[in-house]
C-alpha cells in the first residue's frame, strides 16, 4: 500500500509545488495575475528561484499573502508596493524604472543607437575616400 511520507524540502533547485489548490481563484484573470506576480518575485531564501517555484517557508508564506491580497481586490501595484516596503527592490526580478536604474533600462538602446551612428559614419567615408575603380570587379 502506499505510504504517506512527509517530505522536507531543502533549498535546492528542485521542484515542489505547494499545493496550488490552496489558492483557488474565481476567475482565470486572477489566476494569471497570481502566476505572473509570483514568477516575477524573487525568493529571498532560495535566491535562485522565484516565489512560484520556491519551497522555502518564507516563499510559502508570501504566496499566501499575495493570494489573500488578490482576493481582497488589491491591484498588482499595491501588492508589489507592499512587498517592496518590507524587503526592498531586491525582491523584484523586474527592476523598477528609477534614477538608479536608468542606465539599466536605457543602456541597451543607447548602445544600439551609438553603434548605428558609428556604422553610418564609417560607411559615409566611401563618399570622401577615393572610390575604387575596380568596384564592379569585386561584386
Amino acid at each position: 500500500m502506499k505510504k504517506i511520507i512527509i517530505i522536507f524540502i531543502l533549498c535546492i533547485p528542485l521542484h515542489l509545488f505547494a499545493a496550488d489548490d490552496f489558492y483557488p481563484f474565481e476567475t482565470p484573470v486572477e489566476q494569471n495575475r497570481f502566476a505572473a506576480l509570483t514568477s516575477q518575485l524573487r525568493c529571498l531564501v532560495c535566491q535562485n528561484q522565484n516565489l512560484a517555484e520556491s519551497n522555502a517557508a518564507l516563499a510559502v508564506d508570501l504566496r499566501q499573502q499575495i493570494y489573500q491580497h488578490i482576493q481582497q481586490g488589491q491591484s498588482d501595484k499595491q501588492i508589489i508596493d507592499y512587498l517592496v516596503e518590507r524587503y526592498g527592490n531586491f525582491i523584484l526580478y523586474r527592476p523598477p524604472f528609477v534614477a538608479a536604474t536608468w542606465g539599466l533600462w536605457l543602456g541597451p538602446l543607447v548602445f544600439l543607437l551609438v553603434g548605428i551612428v558609428c556604422l553610418l559614419f564609417y560607411i559615409r567615408k566611401t563618399a570622401t575616400s577615393t572610390r575604387s575603380n575596380n568596384f564592379e570587379d569585386k561584386v
Binding site: L44, A57, F90
Partner: protein, 182 residues
C-alpha cells in the same frame, strides 16, 4: 590620427578597466545579503502574545524609552543555537534589553529550549504564523534589529551576532543611541 580615432581605439581598454574595478569591488560585497528598507523608520506596529503568558500582549509601546535589540530566533535554527551564548553574555554584562521574536516555532519546544540553554530575553513575543516577521522584512534567522528610544529601527544585523559584529557595529551604536534623548 585624430582624437576620435584615438578614443575609439582605447575604448575597449577603458571599458574593460571599469569592469575590472566593478568586479574588484564586487568581491568584497555579499550578493546574497538583503539590506532592510526599514532603517530609520519606526518598527511596524505589532501586537503578539508572550511566550510564558499567552494572555499578556507585547506591542511597540513596550519598546519605547530605551534602546532595544529585537532578536528573531527559533528552536529549529542551528545558527541561533550558536548565537545564544553571545546573547546571554550581552544580556548579562552589557545590560542589553532583548526582545525575542520566536519565529514560526512550537511554544512548548521554545520553553524547553530556553530552560536548557538560558534565557537572555527580557520579553519574548511569539510569531507563530510569521506574519509580523514579514512586516518587519525578516527573511532568515537569526536577525537582530537595533531600536532607539523612540522605537525607530537604526540597524539590522543579518545572521548571528559574533564578537566582530558586536565590537565593530553594535556596541558603538548602542552607546550612541543610549546617549540620545527620548
Amino acid at each position: 590620427m585624430n582624437l576620435l580615432k584615438k578614443i575609439y581605439f582605447t575604448l575597449p581598454l577603458i571599458i574593460f578597466a571599469m569592469i575590472i574595478l566593478i568586479l574588484w569591488r564586487g568581491l568584497k560585497l555579499n550578493p546574497a545579503q538583503v539590506p532592510s528598507p526599514l532603517i530609520n523608520k519606526p518598527l511596524p506596529h505589532f501586537a503578539l502574545p508572550t511566550l510564558f503568558d499567552e494572555k499578556k500582549i507585547v506591542t511597540n509601546e513596550d519598546l519605547m524609552g530605551h534602546v532595544t535589540l529585537v532578536n528573531v530566533w527559533a528552536t529549529w535554527c542551528e545558527a541561533c543555537a550558536e548565537e545564544h551564548n553571545a546573547l546571554l553574555e550581552l544580556a548579562q554584562n552589557e545590560h542589553v534589553f532583548f526582545l525575542g521574536l520566536d519565529y514560526k516555532d512550537d511554544v512548548d519546544a521554545a520553553k524547553k529550549w530556553l530552560a536548557q540553554r538560558g534565557n537572555p530575553y527580557q520579553m519574548i513575543a511569539v510569531d507563530y504564523a510569521g506574519t509580523v516577521a514579514i512586516d518587519w522584512g525578516v527573511y532568515g534567522t537569526p536577525e537582530t534589529f537595533v531600536l532607539d528610544k523612540k522605537g525607530m529601527i537604526r540597524y539590522k544585523q543579518i545572521g548571528p551576532i559574533d564578537t566582530d559584529s558586536w565590537e565593530k557595529k553594535l556596541k558603538p551604536l548602542i552607546a550612541q543611541l543610549r546617549n540620545e534623548p527620548i
